[in-house]
């Protein structure tokens, strides 16, 4: 129970700090809006073309926004030099990973929700596909956030971490992004739900592996 409480308080604390500071979240939302607008203008105005491109656009935008947000998990600690205080909390350090993961996941879901709303409007996504896309968004975001949080922690004390993070992150999250694009495309095309389930199962497997493995390895990568 204490572990879950700590995870909750850390995520809540970070979300409060992020909303007060605003820089990371605002930058990601502005970036997404600009990207979607440019892609919409470049690929349009044919509705069918836009709808076909929507799954790829949605996940490429989310992947880029995710890499912008990934640094926030530990950027909050690095900016205020408070990482040591978290490391001094008694007990094992896995809770720190899961608290930061929850924070990162909440950020991605906030941005992903806004992104889905914009994409649905600009790229003519069928309304019937939206609940399924929301499920895909949650599953894909868990996989993405689990890896990005791990690497953000590993690189937290390094100079040039903003440049390094996407380089190490993207090769590992490619399977998650691909499975998410395929699941979203199946939903947009109106394929049978059985086909979408296959991608969701794959995403779920990635999520379980990444979350477990990263949580176990995290205490070792944080040692100075």
């Amino acid at each position: 129970m204490t572990l879950l409480t700590r995870i909750f308080w850390l995520a809540l604390r970070d979300l409060t700090l992020e909303l007060r500071g605003r820089t990371g979240l605002l930058a990601a939302v502005f970036f997404l809006f600009t990207m979607l607008l440019i892609l919409g203008l470049a690929l349009g105005p044919n509705q069918d073309d836009l709808r076909k491109a929507a799954p790829g656009v949605l996940w490429v935008a989310l992947a880029f926004a995710g890499s912008l947000l990934a640094g926030r998990a530990f950027g909050l600690e690095v900016e205020d030099n408070t990482l040591d205080d978290l490391l001094l909390v008694p007990g094992s350090r896995e809770w720190l990973y899961y608290g930061k993961l929850l924070f990162q996941l909440l950020l991605l879901l906030i941005v992903g929700g806004a992104l889905l709303f914009l994409t649905a409007g600009l790229f003519y996504l069928p309304l019937s596909a939206l609940p399924g896309i929301l499920v895909t968004l949650v599953l894909g975001s868990i996989g993405y956030a689990s890896v990005s949080t791990f690497y953000a922690g590993m690189l937290a004390r390094l100079r040039g971490r903003e440049a390094l993070l996407p380089l190490v992150l993207f090769p590992v999250v490619v399977p998650v992004v691909l499975a998410s694009v395929k699941a979203t495309a199946s939903l947009v095309e109106g394929l049978p739900l059985g086909e979408v389930f296959n991608w969701w199962q794959l995403l779920l497997v990635f999520d379980v592996i990444y979350v477990t493995l990263c949580g176990l390895l995290f205490p070792y990568v944080l040692e100075g």
Binding site: R6, R13, L76, D84, D85, V89
Partner: protein, 195 residues
């Protein structure tokens, strides 16, 4: 009685430069050990090694009890108020602050309520760090130049805190102020450059 801290053959190097080499150290309950030595001799490094915040190049450290660190300068989230920083520090340890305990701790160190840390001076941050340690009540108190940036009243508060820490556990403090620390320390450890 078993020691609160025991370091055996502790070593640390940055690249090829040894900062600490083969150090043996014990902290017994009720002790206040003052680390003395010139800048760059490894006082902060030793405190961080003892706290477990840094991987040693050699040797080992055994700790009996919780560690609390007063860093120099102390770190807090600047967009939070003093109360919020203290409240989250306790909650992240899995403890619920007693109603009024945080306000009382802030008042005890002479800090105003409701002010964001962004507007704190260095001395105020030191006072806030003292309030945090008092609320956390660790067994092993590691203080890195705790007297720096404090005014006369702040030093009095610090001395009271060190006496409190001495009765609650043990204290290791790094300082340059020999005259001040002579009155408080039960033992001094003079560090010299490692070769």
């Amino acid at each position: 009685m078993s020691p609160l801290l025991e370091a055996q053959s502790l070593s640390k190097r940055y690249g090829r430069d040894w900062v600490i080499r083969g150090l043996d150290f014990r902290l017994e309950p009720g002790e206040v050990v003052a680390l003395l030595g010139p800048n760059g001799v490894g006082k902060t490094t030793l405190l961080r090694l003892l706290a477990g915040l840094m991987r040693a190049s050699g040797g080992r450290v055994a700790r009996q009890g919780r560690v609390g660190l007063l860093a120099n300068p102390p770190a807090f989230h600047r967009h939070f108020t003093g109360e919020e920083n203290l409240s989250y520090a306790l909650r992240l340890e899995g403890r619920s602050p007693q109603p009024g305990a945080i306000a009382a701790a802030l008042q005890a160190v002479g800090l105003p309520p409701g002010k964001a840390v962004l507007g704190y001076s260095s001395g105020m941050k030191k006072r806030l760090a003292m309030a945090r340690l008092r609320l956390q009540r660790p067994d092993i108190w590691l203080l890195d130049e705790p007297e720096a940036a404090l005014d006369a009243q702040g030093r009095e508060l610090l001395e009271a805190l060190i006496l409190e820490a001495k009765s609650a556990g043990g204290v290791v403090l790094a300082t340059h102020d020999r005259g001040w620390v002579q009155r408080l320390a039960t033992r001094t450890l003079e560090l010299s450059p490692a070769v």
